[in-house]
Amino acid sequence: MQNTQTPEYAIETKNLSIHYGNFTAVKDVTIQIEKQKITAIIGPSGCGKSTLLRAFNRMNDFVPNCRVSGDLLLHGINLYSKEVDPVEVRRKIGMVFQKPNPFPKSIYENIAWGARINGFKGNMDELVENSLRGAALWDEVKDKLQKSAYELSGGQQQRLCIARTIAIQPEIILMDEPASALDPISTLRIEELMQELKKNYTIIIVTHNMQQAARASDYTAMMMINDERAGGVIEFDETKKIFTRPSDKRTEDYVTGRFG
C-alpha cells in the first residue's frame, strides 16, 4: 500500500456492492470520506449501514458467502484486490464495535497485545499511557493497569477499546454504534472523545441516534433500502445540510422523524 501521490480523500468507494450469496445487501455505494473528519452513516434498521462499515476494513471476510464488488480505494489502491492482505487493511483501519469487547485480560495487556502482534518495537509502557490518554481514560485507570478490563464500567470499557484501536496507530477508525450500549453520560464522553480524535484520525461512525449524528459528525451518508431490499446511499453531504436542507424527500422524512 505504498503510494507517493498524496490522495485527496482518506478512503473512497466506487460502485461498492456487498452480496450475501445471491442477495445484494448493499448496492452501488460511491462516497468519498474526507481526511480528519467525522463521517456518520445513518438510516433505518436493516439498510446495510453496519455491513457497509465492516466492508471498509474487510471484517465481512469472516461472513460466509459474503462477496464484495466494486472498488474500495485507500491511497488509490483497491483494498479488495488480490495483492492486499486483510490483516494489513485492519492494521491501517481500526474498528470499535457496538458492544464493548475488551479482551479478558488486564487493562495494560488489552492495549499492548495489538501493538505486540503488529511488531511494535518502542517503549510499551509509554504506548499504553499515550493510548489511554488519547482515549481520555488514563486518569481513571492509571493505578489499576494490571486489573482485569472487565472491572471497568461499560463506558470505560468502550474507551479502552478506542485506546486499543489507536494504540496501533491506524489512519481511519470505524465505529459501529459505539455508544448504543452506553448511558447518556458515557455517550457524551465518547462524542467528546471523537472530537479530540479527529485531529489525528479519520472517523467513520454508524449511528441510530439522529441527534448524535447531527451533533458529532461533519459529513453524513443517508442509507435506505430500495425495492429489492438492497441498501444504498441515497444522499451524502455535509451534516449541516443533511439536517437542514436535505435534497432528498426520504432523507427529510427520516431526519425529521416522519419516516414510515
Binding site: F62, R90, F103, N118, C161, R164
Partner: protein
C-alpha cells in the same frame, strides 16, 4: 366486539375452568415427580447392590492349624517371626521361587502374612453372606455357620481393604487385589489422553476456526456426531484389526527390540480407547470453542491479528477450561468401557504390573466381569469391591472436571 365477556369466561365459569387447569397441572407435576423418583430409586438400588456385596460375614477354615507353626496369635506375628516360619515350613523350592520374585527380606509384614495364610495355613472360604443378611440375620448366620462348619471361624469383614488395592490378581478371592487392574486402567487413560487430546483439540480448532462452511465440512461434522454414537464393540473390532494385527510390530514393541510380546498390549488397547473417545473429545472441544463469543475474535482481528494469533491468544485460552472439562468427561469413558478391551485382548489373569506400553494388561471392568462370572460367592464380593474402586475413580475424574470448570469459569 368490545363486550369481552363474549370471548372469555367470567365469574363462576372462570373459576371452574381455573380449577380444571390446576387439576391438570397437578397431575402433570405428579408425573414429573414420579419420573424423578424412579430415577433416584434406580440409582439407590445400584448403590445398594454394590455396597451390599462388598461387606458381610465370611466363614473360613484353616486347612492347617496355626498352632502347628506358632504359639502367638497369628494376627500379632512380627515380620521377623513370619520370615522364620515361612523359611522353616515352606518347601525350599516354593521358598526360592518366592524369593526370586522378590527377596523375602524386602517384603512387608502384610505381604508375608498373606503368604503365611496362603501357603501354610491354607485358608479355605466356606461361605459368605452379603451385608443385608449379615446385619439383619446375624444370629441365624452364627448358628448356621456353627452347625455347618464346626471348625470354621466366622468373621465380619469388608472386602474392600487397603490390601485389596495394593495386591495383584490371585486365584483365591481372599488374596486377590485390583492393583494390576487399576494400573492397567490408568495406563489406558494415559495413552488415550496422549492420543486423543491433541488430535481432538486440533480437529476441533480446525473445524471451528478454519474449515469453510461447505458441504464437505457438513458431512465431516455429521459423521463425527454419528461416530460418537457407534457401539464401543465396533471400535474394539477396529482396534483388533488395526492396532493388534496390522500394526503389530509397533504395538508389540517388536520394532523397538521387545520380543516377548504380541500385539495385545496396553498400547493397542489405549489407542483403541483413544479412537473411541475421539469423536466425543472433538465435539466437546468444539462446544467449548463455540462458547467463546465472536466479539472476542472480532476484537482481535480488528487490531490486525492473523487467524493463528487470534486462535492462540484469545480463542484457545478462553476455551481451555471448557476443553479440559469436556476432555476429562470424555476420557472417563475409558475407565468404564469393557467390550473393546475384550476384543482387543485384555488378559483376565495378570499378576505383574503393566510397566511399559508393551505390557500385557488387565483393566478394572475386565476384572469385574471376570470375577462376577465365577460361581464362588467370594468372587462376587470382590467384584463388588472392585466396582466401588471403579466408581470412586470415575467420580474423582468427574469432580476434577467440575472443579476445573468452576475455577476457570469466565465471564465475557
Amino acid at each position: 366486539m368490545n363486550q369481552k365477556q363474549d370471548y372469555f369466561p367470567e365469574g363462576h365459569a372462570f373459576y371452574s375452568a381455573l380449577r380444571r387447569r390446576y387439576l391438570i397441572a397437578g397431575v402433570w407435576q405428579t408425573i414429573f415427580f414420579s419420573a424423578l423418583l424412579i430415577a433416584i430409586i434406580s440409582l439407590m438400588a445400584l448403590l445398594y447392590d454394590v455396597v451390599n456385596g462388598a461387606f458381610g460375614y465370611i466363614a473360613y477354615e484353616y486347612k492347617n492349624d496355626p498352632s502347628e507353626y506358632t504359639s502367638t496369635p497369628i494376627s500379632e506375628l512380627t515380620k521377623e517371626e513370619l520370615l522364620s516360619i515361612l523359611k522353616e515350613n515352606l518347601s525350599s523350592g516354593a521358598y526360592n521361587k518366592l524369593n526370586n520374585e522378590q527377596p523375602m527380606e524386602t517384603r512387608s509384614q502384610g505381604e508375608l502374612y498373606v503368604l503365611f495364610l496362603k501357603g501354610l495355613l491354607q485358608v479355605d472360604t466356606k461361605q459368605t453372606w452379603d451385608l443385608t443378611d449379615s446385619l439383619l440375620r446375624g444370629a441365624e448366620i452364627r448358628a448356621e455357620a456353627a452347625e455347618k462348619y464346626p471348625d470354621a471361624q466366622l468373621e465380619f469383614r469388608s472386602w474392600l481393604t487397603p490390601q485389596f488395592l495394593t495386591t495383584p490378581m490371585s486365584s483365591k478371592a481372599e488374596f486377590a487385589g485390583v492393583r494390576t487392574a487399576v494400573l492397567g486402567s490408568l495406563w489406558l487413560v494415559g495413552i488415550a489422553i496422549i492420543f486423543a487430546l491433541p488430535v481432538g483439540v486440533g480437529s476441533a480448532v480446525y473445524l471451528q476456526e478454519y474449515a469453510p462452511k461447505n458441504w464437505l465440512t457438513a458431512i465431516i461434522q455429521t459423521n463425527i456426531n454419528n461416530l460418537a454414537g457407534v457401539p464401543s464393540i465396533v471400535y474394539g473390532m477396529l482396534g483388533l484389526a488395526l492396532f493388534v494385527r496390522t500394526m503389530e510390530s509397533i504395538t508389540s514393541g517388536a520394532a523397538f527390540g521387545i520380543t516377548d510380546s504380541n500385539g495385545r498390549t496396553v498400547l493397542s488397547a489405549g489407542l483403541t480407547m483413544g479412537i473411541l473417545v475421539l469423536p466425543l473429545m472433538i465435539i466437546n472441544a468444539q462446544e467449548a470453542i463455540k462458547a467463546v463469543p465472536d466479539s472476542l475474535r472480532q476484537a482481535a482481528y480488528g487490531v490486525g491479528a492473523t487467524r493463528l494469533q487470534t486462535v492462540w491468544s484469545h480463542v484457545l485460552p478462553n476455551a481451555l477450561p471448557g476443553i479440559l472439562t469436556g476432555s476429562i468427561l470424555a476420557i472417563s469413558r475409558t475407565l468404564g468401557e469393557t467390550a473393546p478391551l475384550i476384543v482387543v485382548g485384555a488378559s483376565t489373569f495378570v499378576t505383574i504390573d503393566p510397566s511399559s506400553p508393551f505390557s500385557k494388561f488387565t483393566a478394572l471392568p475386565i476384572q469385574i466381569y471376570n470375577w462376577t462370572t465365577r460361581p464362588q460367592s467370594e468372587f462376587h464380593a470382590i467384584a463388588a469391591s472392585a466396582i466401588i474402586v471403579l466408581l470412586v475413580l470415575l467420580l474423582t475424574l468427574n469432580a476434577t472436571a467440575i472443579l476445573l470448570r468452576n475455577r476457570f469459569q469466565r465471564k465475557y
